[in-house]
Subunit: 161 residues, 2 copies
Amino acid sequence: MTAYPSVNDNLDLVLERTVDVAPELVWKAWTTPELVVQWFAPRPWSTSSCEIDLQPGGRFHTVMRSPEGEEYPNTGCILVVEEGSTLIFTSGLGPGFRPQVAGDDFPFTAIIRLERAGNGTKYTATAIHADASAKKSHEEMGFVEGWSAALDQLVEVVKGR
Amino acid sequence: MTAYPSVNDNLDLVLERTVDVAPELVWKAWTTPELVVQWFAPRPWSTSSCEIDLQPGGRFHTVMRSPEGEEYPNTGCILVVEEGSTLIFTSGLGPGFRPQVAGDDFPFTAIIRLERAGNGTKYTATAIHADASAKKSHEEMGFVEGWSAALDQLVEVVKGR
């Protein structure tokens, strides 16, 4: 059993879309580092590296690169892995569930849910935050637009374009 | 599979003892709120309430009361539940894996491991921290002495004294 995070409109951000690729392929794109680097950062940003240890307590690490070539590493902890349907990870803990030194950024927990919808996937990405100001900062950084653009790229990668 | 936290002597604190009660009973004492309130806070402190939702993402909540009657609530998130052998929870996240607003305290993740040792239990409680200063603060608060005194109380409760 898992106590799934309950979404709170005052604190959380949700991207919900249906895409025309199967959940198995979306799952593979999210959990395979060689694929993640191809779609994770919305262009013109890119993802210069990715490491994933796909189990609770495992490392979820990406380095995003700005158009100017500056690199932004992010290391979080995987919390829940339900093959093909649910991936939960957080920037609030590091690998092995170790608390992280608080940086300038707000921590968030991401919930990626995949449900079969015809031949496609109902895709729900939720970012949950400690407080309304963290939600607001994430919203202003363009969470919904950015994750939506990245999802378009994910679909392109899966379709082999 | 779970990626267990790896202990780092520079960052972490460990209490390791063998007690003469079976792992099943130690597990029950750790995971049953009506029992937790009887042993969790080293005397003369006490535990005025406890709530446990024993699953990953579930709530781990205690209120400790000082001898002067001041109450100190703590709410964390359960991360790993391996019946009878391993309980991992963290103050770095709240219930449902939600990041917590950073307070004055350092966050830590607790790993309780129980192994059968004859008729008793090898008991290992580890507190893992983000950095050496959090370890130092926790050490100076008396983690090892406090958790050891609480373990003595747990054994008393289990033995029905």
